[in-house]
């Protein structure tokens, strides 16, 4: 049987066209990879709009600066009662605020711990609802408030609100009174 020789010279790949094609593909992939940039994901943090009426909160967190805050809950009443000898007059708001500042100021780490404990206590005990009011001074970055709120969002028994206000507002409030088990701050 006779075999015919193949003509190899006709089957050569055109080199210039191949290089051309490869470069075009290369440019195409470079451009697409530049255009499809991975963007950072974003999330939504819900904050209820404040009510224009006097409210009641189980916990008040007054942000003092970006590192510290004043935590006022039912223990503030005990603190004021126990150290009443440090308050010369009942209407001396400055002395009351100074006492609360000395006893109930938390740094960021302590605040995180306190919030974790709050959530644990809610999970263990009766499902009592809490309202946490966060007061943030106007000149501070809003991130000071959002970093507290983000720790509260995942608990259905904790409601929260956020308003503007400084420690100076508490100092210059009309009154800070203990009425039974309630600490009343009349701004």
């Amino acid at each position: 049987m006779a075999f015919r020789k193949l003509h190899h010279e006709n089957r050569r790949v055109p080199l210039y066209s191949l290089i051309d094609l490869v470069f075009i593909l290369l440019i195409f992939f470079i451009i697409t990879s530049i255009m499809i940039r991975t963007t950072r994901g974003e999330a939504k943090l819900y904050i209820p709009t404040p009510k224009n009426e006097p409210g009641e909160a189980q916990i008040l967190i007054q942000i003092i600066d970006d590192k510290t805050c004043l935590w006022l809950d039912h223990t503030a009443i005990d603190t004021l009662r126990r150290h009443s000898y440090m308050i010369p007059r009942a209407d001396d708001l400055g002395a009351k605020v100074d006492l609360l500042l000395r006893k109930m100021t938390l740094d960021n780490a302590a605040l995180s711990l306190r919030l974790s404990r709050l959530k644990e206590s809610i999970a263990e005990s009766v499902k009592k609802e809490y309202f946490v009011l966060i007061r943030c001074p106007e000149y501070l970055p809003y991130v000071a408030a959002t970093r507290i709120i983000e720790k509260l969002v995942d608990n259905p028994y904790i409601e929260y609100g956020c308003v503007s206000g400084s420690l100076q507002d508490i100092r210059s409030s009309k009154s800070i009174l203990i009425d039974g088990n309630v600490l009343q701050i009349d701004f």
Binding site: T49, N52, L140, Y142, A145, E150, S164
Partner: protein, 196 residues
């Protein structure tokens, strides 16, 4: 003189054909992509801001289609001293059309739906602060947004989103919340955008 036909030279050059096809494809793809992304890329450059970092337990935004009215606050250095620039980004009210956040930002920049706070806005008395151009812009926009939402989607509560630079003063966030609070029946909550 006799001419001889060269039949064998009429074969199709496959590589050249692919070459041209790819060139055309590339041209149309890139020009189309640039037309779409041109405005978005401009917007992306100017709207890139540092947001507060939070963890992943918050609802994550999958595709950045603008669903609510968005107030975007960016740093502004056009005046003496650092100030804040407020953009109002409008969503699409028709269910059939959607608008991306970056497209909305581009439109806001084009339509001049933005305003700049004076550098000393923190020290301004309340009456001058609330009468400033950004406050008026935010108030009017939220009012108009509620009216439009009532008209187009009467069953849903309108929501306002805030996308603000990390260092934005709480006063501005509080301003937006207070304006929404005045419309509390309509806007029970605001959304703060964070990054993961």
């Amino acid at each position: 003189m006799a001419f001889q036909r060269k039949e064998n030279e009429r074969t199709l050059e496959l590589f050249s054909l692919i070459d041209i096809v790819f060139l055309l494809l590339l041209f149309f793809l890139v020009s189309f992509a640039f037309r779409l992304a041109g405005e978005v890329s401009d917007a992306k450059v100017f709207s890139e801001i540092n947001l507060p970092v939070t963890d992943t337990k918050l609802p994550v935004i999958k595709n950045d289609v603008l669903e609510n009215l968005m107030i975007q606050i960016t740093p502004d250095t056009s005046q003496l001293g650092i100030s804040r620039r407020v953009y109002v980004l409008w969503p699409s009210f028709e269910d059939t059309t959607k608008i991306l956040r970056l497209q909305a930002f581009y439109r806001a920049a084009q339509d001049s739906t933005f305003a700049v706070f004076p550098p000393d806005f923190l020290r301004l008395p309340d009456d001058r602060f609330y009468a400033s151009a950004p406050c008026t812009l935010i108030t009017n926009s939220i009012g108009r947004y509620i009216e439009k939402e009532k008209f187009y989607h009467s069953n849903t509560h309108p929501t306002v989103e805030v996308r603000a630079e990390l260092n934005t003063e709480f006063k501005l966030i509080n301003l937006i919340m207070n304006i929404c609070s005045a419309q509390r029946q309509a806007i029970p909550q605001v959304i703060i955008r964070t990054t993961l």
